[in-house]
């Protein structure tokens, strides 16, 4: 029963705030936050039930035989539910401060609550149909929130792009679900996992996994369906923190982990997912080095980190991937909320080239970002170190040396661009007053710096200021798990490994023992991180670099390779391969098929009807006797029939 509460409270909030927002006024924020908070606390009370031998499975109802719907809270969905409601609650509270001057305050919280509900539907469902419903609702909520400032054309375009790409993923998942239902006739997870080996041929299993992974790739921003994520930064920063860092984009990780028995039975699919994850990780990291918008840097780092997670769960290191999700949820929320403090203070300035030297004015934001950067870079002792190490070493354990190499290199690049972000933003001198063209910014209004009209009024003080307690408290709370949560997975028999002991299928030890021990692997990762840090320090953090920062940023902006600025031309390729042909086809239909086939058909039908009307009109003489004659003719016909049928026969 408590699980119903966990699941439905955010829905109540979403509908209620949407319906009564204008009456609630500034109460909308606290109410929405409180609902999510209660949901979180209720989840905590369910901890014991979820971790019992038989996981908590609450039936909702059934439809066809074998099609019963229910809520499932086991160890995996417990982790996700806690993150969604817990981090979600902190971000809600933060939003009260961040969105304080927005006109659509209540609408924002309605959408946020609706998003939490959608995500909980996805995670708590005990069958594939419920999963698909949640999957679609999450995409819808994401559309609402990215396009929250719908008066910005860029936001609308980004929302549309995200939605369309997510629908591509939905189609993949639907395909997989159709295949599952066609083979098994049921939708429950238990039924599916019990029949993995017997019901599917390896080929079918691969197709199912492929369909599921298309959904994953769309939702979790994996190549080649990743390009919506950086654009999604058009939404308010708390949205970016909640959706595009902590929860929604990790739905793909959840999906792979949830269907672990399927993946483990299909080695081909595992190889594919692992490779795509690693590719995304390094591609996102490289792109992160080329961005100037603080939120886009974080977006690409998100993409890269999710690549890690997908690689982890893809190659069979499920608990490592899920653990990286857990730590990432904290430190990425931390980073986004810290960035949000800066953006809020600088009146929606998001370009790091126009920041600099904020360490002294905003010590709290600096501390928050510093902890986040250290954690994401994998500095020992912080959470990211443990989880990333587990994922990286997992690649080696399951016999994927190439993926391992890519992961190690990516760790170095991650350290580089995160410290680059830190140095450019917080060190040196404040460059907010410098002419943008001196920094190489050609079109300031197009460089992601456009202030949202109506959000912050013009008279907003442009100089940095300290955040309110509503914004700083969640960040301060997040610092604790960002630092400490990693110790859950310390050692070979850690609490985390015990938590998931026996939950996931065992990874295939095809390659036998790893060629190097975990300690050596850790040292390798640390070496890569150190190199990344060193390069970042030399280029942006050293005293000499800080003195010539303006000129350096200018040359770097101008000389940035086009392939990076344009994100490997993925969008251009989509434009050329899909959008333009579709437009051309539409134009052809508009010019040729519509006028000459459809319109002509309608016209010809009308003309035919008119002609028939003329024909029948000639019978309508208006002379009653002619009608009578026609009747007589009919009578004669009937009588003639009877005469011929019965009269002549005898």
């Amino acid at each position: 029963m408590l699980l119903y509460l966990v699941w439905l409270l955010p829905l109540v909030g979403g509908v209620g705030l949407w319906a009564f927002g204008p009456q609630l006024k500034s109460w909308a924020g606290p109410i929405g936050s409180a609902l999510v908070g209660v949901s979180f606390i209720a989840t905590l009370f369910l901890w014991r039930d979820a971790t019992a031998a038989r996981a908590l499975d609450v039936p909702l109802g059934s439809w066809l035989p074998g099609w019963s719907f229910g809520l499932l809270l086991d160890r995996l969905s417990l982790i996700w539910t806690l993150i969604i409601t817990g981090v979600g609650f902190l971000i809600h509270v933060y939003s009260i401060g961040y969105m304080d001057r927005d006109r659509a305050f209540a609408r924002f919280f309605a959408y946020m609550n609706f998003f939490v509900f959608a995500m909980l539907t996805l995670v708590l469902s005990d069958n594939v149909i419920g999963l698909l419903v949640g999957w679609g609702l999450v995409g819808l909520a994401s559309y609402f929130l990215i396009g929250f400032w719908f008066y910005k054309p860029t936001a609308v375009a980004a929302a549309r792009k995200a939605f369309v790409m997510n629908v591509v993923g939905d189609i993949g998942i639907m395909f997989a679900i159709f295949l599952i239902v066609a083979k098994l006739g049921g939708i429950g997870y238990g039924l599916i996992f019990a029949n993995v080996g017997s019901a599917f041929t390896p080929h079918e299993l691969f197709l199912v996994c492929l369909g599921l992974f298309i959904g994953c790739a769309a939702k979790s921003a994996q190549i080649p369906l990743h390009s919506w994520l950086p654009d999604a930064m058009e939404g308010p920063t708390p949205v970016s923190a909640l959706i595009h860092a902590a929860t929604m984009v990790t739905a793909g990780v959840y999906l792979v982990a949830r269907f672990a028995p399927l993946w483990s039975a299909s080695p081909d699919a595992q190889e594919l997912v692992g490779a795509i994850g690693a590719l995304t990780a390094i591609a996102g990291a490289i792109l992160g080095c080329a961005q100037w918008d603080i939120k886009r840097i974080l977006a690409y780092s998100t993409m890269s980190q999710i690549g890690y997670m997908i690689m982890g769960v893809g190659i069979g290191a499920y608990d490592a991937g899920v653990f990286h999700f857990l730590t990432h949820a904290f430190f990425k929320a931390q980073l986004f909320l810290g960035a949000g403090i800066i953006i809020h203070a600088l009146a929606d300035e998001q370009d790091v080239r126009r920041m600099g030297g904020l360490r002294k004015q905003m010590p709290f934001a600096f501390a928050a970002m510093l902890v986040g950067v250290l954690a994401i870079s994998g500095v020992p002792g912080l959470s990211g170190f443990f989880s990333k190490d587990a994922v990286v070493y997992g690649a080696l354990q399951t016999g994927h040396p190439w993926l391992y190499a890519v992961a190690v290199v990516t760790a170095g690049i991650t350290a580089y661009y995160m410290f680059r972000l830190l140095f450019v933003t917080f060190f040196g001198a404040y460059r907010g007053a410098v002419d943008p063209s001196d920094l190489g910014i050609r079109h300031p209004e197009l460089a992601g710096t456009a202030a949202s009209p109506g959000h912050h009024p013009e008279e907003e003080e442009p100089h940095p200021h300290a955040p309110g307690w509503l914004m700083s408290a969640p960040v301060a709370i997040l610092i604790v798990p960002t630092i400490a949560i990693g110790w859950l997975d310390f050692g070979s028999n850690s609490a985390w490994k015990q938590f998931f002991a026996g939950f996931f299928p065992r990874a295939a030890d095809a390659a036998g023992a790893a060629p190097i021990s975990e300690a050596v692997s850790t040292l390798l990762v640390l070496l890569a991180v150190a190199i990344g840090f060193a390069v970042a320090y030399a280029r942006y953090g050293a005293p000499a670099a800080l003195r010539g920062a303006i000129a350096r940023l200018r040359t770097e902006t101008i000389r940035m390779p086009g392939v990076l600025v344009n994100a490997y031309y993925f969008d251009a390729a989509f434009e050329a391969l899909l959008v333009r042909p579709a437009r051309a086809l539409g134009g052809w239909f508009d010019r040729t098929v519509d006028p000459h086939v459809i319109d002509a058909g309608v016209r010809e039908a009308a003309i035919s009807a008119q002609w028939l009307g003329h024909l029948f009109r000639s019978f309508q003489t208006g002379l009653v006797r002619a009608y009578a004659l026609t009747l007589a003719f009919g009578v004669a016909c009937i009588v003639a029939y009877y005469a011929l049928a019965f009269g002549g026969g005898r």
Binding site: F616, R617, S618, F619, Q620, T621, G622, L623, V624, R625, A628, L629, A632, V635
Partner: protein
């Protein structure tokens, strides 16, 4: 009763024939209506004949219903004639051609 039913039916057919010709050939709506009454009666005669032939009074019931409907039809037809005549002083169905398409 020693007349074969064929004779009654033939009589009915002859009456029907006269009625049909009357409806089509005459232009006076009153006489047309009367011809229609002739048609009804011819049909009734056939019904009653067969009812007698098979000793089944369903034919009687049917004839009774026909009489009822004929009464309704006559009332409505005459009302139309009266109203039409009130508008223009012709009693000629050829002149009433508002139904022409």
């Amino acid at each position: 009763m020693n007349v074969a039913p064929e004779n009654y039916v033939a009589l009915s057919a002859v009456l029907f024939f006269i009625g049909v010709v009357g409806v089509i050939a005459r232009r006076n709506p009153l006489i047309m209506l009367m011809s229609i009454e002739l048609l009804f009666n011819a049909a009734n005669l056939a019904l009653v004949t067969y009812a007698r032939a098979w000793v089944n009074n369903a034919g009687h019931i049917f004839a009774f219903l026909v009489i009822t409907v004929a009464a309704a039809e006559a009332a409505i037809g005459l009302a139309i004639v009266a109203v039409t005549f009130r508008k223009e002083p012709f009693v000629d169905v050829d002149e009433v051609s508002a139904l022409r398409g």
